[in-house]
């Protein structure tokens, strides 16, 4: 199942992916052997380079970010029933023991997406791939959350909101058209559904005065409902168009499942009473029996992120998988 990770330039995409890599290294090698992470070589090289840099207290360099043209990775979750089968059966190809989600990261300020938004024509393969996504993860950069209307971050956030809202409408329109096409051709498809998720990136940079203005306390709540309310209180102010288009999907015949919210932060070294000079350095954890020397980041949120998508991977309608299989066969079929 194709999934899209959307973020603006400098919204923390590379750091997010580096931290996700870090989290899966720890999580995927734990005692529960039911999660797999895979990435194409080019993506893996970059993600591991970011991870190594973070272990050396450095944020991803600009050069490294420029190297990323297309970054993707796969989450694999052991299917419940297959997980109970004997090992030698699970090893057979026909069993397909893992539900997989294929994530691709997209820069919404990139040339391809900008062209698509201006023209509405999905001619480039990257856009065609993007529109097929069933899961949409939107990165929202908390460092740009300001209530000072005459500032550049305020305007950038307004623009980002417009771009993401337009992309969501494009997803919904595409899904609805596909649904109608299948219905017209005699297939009885399930109503279209998109699974949205938000990652509040650089959450540690969210200013106290902004929280106070919005009537929110410091620190993200743990309770599921309170988390949603807290995140939505932020998003209603900073990305209202995006939120309204998620809510409005149903009236257009495309259900957008309840959005899920995650935090991303990585602790940086601060010197009391002094402004940091140059690039901030990442704080690393001390060495413990379960590991150490790792960047100090919102690990639990990343585990929550991985686990959230397990539920979704298990919910994928069969026809999505069938359609994927059909497409894959069509691609390898000789002309």
């Amino acid at each position: 199942m194709p999934c899209a990770l959307l973020g603006d330039r400098a919204s923390g995409k590379t750091t997010f992916l580096g931290l996700l890599y870090s989290a899966q290294v720890k999580y995927g090698t734990g005692v529960h052997d039911d999660f797999r992470f895979h990435a194409p070589m080019a993506s893996l090289n970059i993600m591991s380079a970011v991870y190594e840099g973070m272990k050396d207290a450095r944020f991803p360099s600009a050069t490294l970010k420029e190297e990323i043209t297309e970054l993707s990775f796969i989450f694999g979750y052991l299917r419940r029933v297959q997980g109970k089968l004997p090992y030698y059966i699970r090893q057979q190809n026909w069993v397909r023991p893992f539900s997989t989600l294929r994530f691709s990261a997209y820069d919404v300020s990139g040339e391809d997406i900008e062209e698509f938004i201006e023209t509405g024509i999905a001619s480039r393969p990257l856009i065609q791939q993007l529109l097929k996504s069933v899961v949409i993860v939107v990165l929202v950069d908390c460092s740009k959350m300001t209530t000072d209307i005459d500032t550049a971050p305020y305007k950038k956030m307004l623009r980002y909101d417009s771009t993401v809202a337009k992309l969501l409408v494009a997803f919904q329109t595409y899904k609805k058209q596909e649904y109608d096409r299948l219905k017209d051709s005699g297939v009885n498809p399930e109503p279209p559904i998109i699974y949205p998720a938000f990652v509040l990136s650089k959450f540690d940079t969210l200013r106290d005065d902004v929280l106070a203005r919005l009537g929110l306390h410091q620190g993200f709540p743990e309770d599921k409902r309170a988390r949603r309310e807290y995140a939505e209180a932020l998003l209603r102010v900073f990305v209202p168009q995006t939120l309204s288009q998620i809510r409005g999907g149903k009236v257009a015949g495309v259900s957008m499942d309840k959005a899920e919210y995650f935090l991303s932060w990585v602790r940086t070294e601060t010197q009391e009473g002094m402004e940091p000079v140059g690039q901030p350095r990442i704080v690393r954890t001390g060495f413990r029996p379960e590991g150490g020397g790792e960047p100090d980041f919102s690990y639990d949120e990343y585990v929550h992120f991985i686990e959230h998508f397990r539920k979704i991977a298990n919910k994928i309608p069969d026809e999505v998988l069938e359609a994927e299989k059909f497409q894959a066969q069509a691609l390898i079929r000789p002309n």
């Binding site: 938004i117 201006e118 509405g120 209530t147 209307i149 305020y154 305007k155 307004l158 623009r159 417009s162 809202a165 337009k166 409408v169 494009a170 919904q172 329109t173 902004v210 203005r213 919005l214 009537g215 939505e232 209180a233 209603r236 102010v237 900073f238 209202p240 168009q241 939120l243 309204s244 288009q245 809510r247 409005g248 999907g249 149903k250 009236v251 257009a252 015949g253």
Partner: protein, 305 residues
């Protein structure tokens, strides 16, 4: 799909109106508890999101937006009680119970002289949509309202009045054999915060229009202001039906957006106000826009029947 055409004189606030309508949809459809849901069409979004950014930054629509924005379409879902008030409830949102609305913004009647107004029945482009519209949203620029007692033929809205009346004739000709029988007029008194106190005094009216729930009082209030300024238009609406064309009961709404008095550099800025959730929005009468959306949904329901 409900076809609504927005008509107004030059600089009467047509683009601002459409931007504020979109802002109302965004603001009133982003919370789980909200009684409204909307889904914008992709084709409308390029211009309208740019307009939204301008309004939310305190700017009035710029020239490229005014030139480029000619339509907006969306699907609208409302949770509505029978007596016209929104209610919160557990109604499930679905596409079958929603309404599609398409707004056409063809240009200013004062600038464009489409052929059909001058006698030809051939309409092209967005003006063609005006001929087939279910609802006409007629903007009356409140800064141009003349006091009761002045000669209407020489008033600032005399030309506009004649143009709207000519448009009604054109629509009547267009629909003489086919097309919808009903046309629903909606008057929007724009820039109402700048209406001259003299005008209000001459009509013996309060500065604030009656509340939304008092529909008769609102109609009387608006008519008292429009009668001396759009006499031909109102007479046509009150007159007997023209051939097959029948007019619905006119509805009246009031719009304004406060200007920032502190803005420097000679450029007019919109005054933004704090919302309860901590964000900003233009200082405008959101309830009027919600009521207008509800009214359009009612027309759509009638049209469907």
């Amino acid at each position: 799909m409900l076809q609504a055409a927005i008509l107004g004189d030059v600089a009467s606030g047509k683009t601002t109106f459409l931007g504020l309508l979109y802002a109302t949809l965004v603001r009133s459809g982003s919370d789980k508890e909200d009684a409204l849901r909307f889904h914008a069409s992709y084709e409308s979004l390029e211009e309208v999101t740019t307009l939204f950014q301008q309004l939310m930054s305190g700017g009035f629509p710029d020239a490229p937006i005014k030139e480029g924005l000619h339509e907006m379409s969306f699907t609208l879902g409302l949770r509505k009680a029978r007596r016209g008030r929104f209610r919160l409830g557990s109604t499930k949102w679905n596409a079958d119970a929603s309404t599609s609305v398409h707004f056409t913004l063809p240009g200013s009647l004062g600038e464009e002289r489409p052929g059909f107004i001058q006698g030809s029945t051939i309409g092209t482009g967005p003006w063609r949509d005006v001929l087939d519209a279910d609802a006409l949203i007629l903007l009356a620029d409140s800064t141009k309202l003349a006091p009761k007692g002045d000669t209407p033929e020489r008033g600032p809205m005399a030309t506009y009045d004649g143009q709207v009346d000519a448009l009604f004739s054109a629509i009547q000709r267009w629909r003489s054999r086919s097309g919808h029988e009903f046309l629903h007029p909606v008057f929007l008194l724009s820039k109402f915060d700048s209406v001259s106190p003299e005008v209000l005094k001459a009509a013996d009216l309060e500065p604030e229009p009656p509340e939304l729930a008092q529909s008769d009082a609102r109609a009387a209030y608006a008519s008292a202001l429009l009668e001396p300024n759009l006499p031909h238009t109102l007479a046509t609406l009150r007159g007997k039906s023209r051939g097959r064309l029948r007019f619905g009961e006119p509805a009246y709404f009031f719009s304004w957006v406060r200007r920032d008095a502190k803005a420097s550099g000679g450029q007019e800025k919109i005054q933004l106000r704090r919302m309860e959730n901590g964000g900003w929005e233009p200082d405008y009468p959101r309830e009027e826009y919600l009521a207008l959306l509800e009214h359009l949904a009612d027309i759509a329901a009638e049209t469907k029947d």
